[in-house]
Symmetry: C2
Subunit: 229 residues, 2 copies
């Protein structure tokens, strides 16, 4: 059956994202390490806090910000000065207000495939921040629909497809996360293409070596892949 | 034209919300006042911080949490101890994890009107927190659709109605905020019914005395109102 509808992931697929988080993590380590006990792995402590908070805080920059502050307090045994908390808040605001940096080839690919296919944007994260990035990216007009979701699991994708009135075999997802943009689609019988980004968040890592899917080195190769289906 | 579709607001319409925020504001004043300069209006300072951050942080508990911490730092000139920051983080987590307290009459009203009308839930706020409240409320099965939006303005409502395929004159919104649940609906030619909650957030106050709409003292009066249209 022909693919009629393409889902694109947003962060690290259409624009840079993870490098901004990594920058703040590095600042966190610089700022908090002097106040943590000797031998404390401050970066690992932050990751553990993020993972523990995921269920309650969800994804996105504001959740990350609250975890940063909580981890600064716990890892320092409450000894971190309030000036550090202020600097962490400043880093979060900078992330939220940073201009969108669209990845190479993306505008051309969206222009090419939107002539022949219906495009939807499917992203996790913070509703206001993702909306702001979409509306300021200059790419919004290519998308029939934008879905900001809590979790990219098979149920979520199935419900989006039902809402769009498209069968799984008519749908292809394109994204940088095997865990979020590939595995759940194969589970429901849809297509998926992996376009890696140089950095992957620890919580998005997964083992999918047993699965059969295509990986493209650049999103610019996607129109040709699509034409060959 | 007959009303076919009813939109319900969630916070302070279906369940208690504002009282939880008020409780945290009172704790904030207790915790931060001892560290603020004499004569500083700590509650007003918090409101001003929230308003200034609205554009970047959006609505919801996580946004409120980041504003609480920022305001604690600014109002105390950076002198607030980290233990206070930890207590504020704890209050935020409590708000996020608090069980939903459904308002009196709500389950009966939804059961009554869902027999004859299509119901949609339309709420601002934090995606993961609103989703959690909806799924744990025991009310989710009444709703055809759930929309968590950044802003309840005429454009947002118009786009939801278009997606539902319903004309403005066939749609009625029910909610506790004149600013968010009544005025924008009258602007686009839809119906709206105001059901006040005893508390209103300062940023939701508006003057709509020149507008003509019905106000019900209890949501339990809504089925009769609807039958009389």
């Amino acid at each position: 059956m022909t693919i009629t509808t393409i889902g694109f992931d947003a962060d690290d697929t259409l624009w840079h994202n993870e490098d901004g988080f990594r920058h703040v993590e590095e600042r966190f380590v610089e700022l908090v390490s002097p106040h943590a006990g000797r031998g404390v792995d401050v970066a690992a402590g932050l990751s553990a806090t993020e993972l523990a908070n995921l269920r309650v805080y969800g994804y996105g920059v504001k959740a990350f910000g609250l975890s940063l502050i909580e981890a600064a307090l716990t890892l320092s045994g409450g000894s971190v000065p309030s000036s550090v908390i202020g600097q962490l808040l400043g880093e979060i605001r900078d992330l939220l207000e940073a201009p969108v940096r669209v990845l190479p080839g993306v505008p051309e690919v969206l222009a090419a495939v939107s002539d022949t296919h219906r495009l939807v944007l499917i992203t996790k994260g913070d509703l206001i921040h993702q909306t702001r990035k979409i509306t300021t990216s200059g790419l919004a007009h290519h998308f029939h629909d934008v879905e900001v979701v809590n979790e990219k699991d098979p149920e979520t994708y199935a419900s989006i497809l039902a809402r769009l009135g498209v069968k799984p075999e008519e749908f292809c997802m394109v994204g940088n996360s095997v865990k979020s943009d590939v595995v759940p689609l194969l589970t429901i019988g849809a297509h998926a293409v992996h376009v890696p980004y140089p950095l992957t968040w620890a919580l998005e890592l997964t083992d999918a070596s047993h699965l059969d899917y295509d990986e493209l080195s650049s999103i610019s190769d996607f129109p040709a892949w699509l034409a060959a289906q």
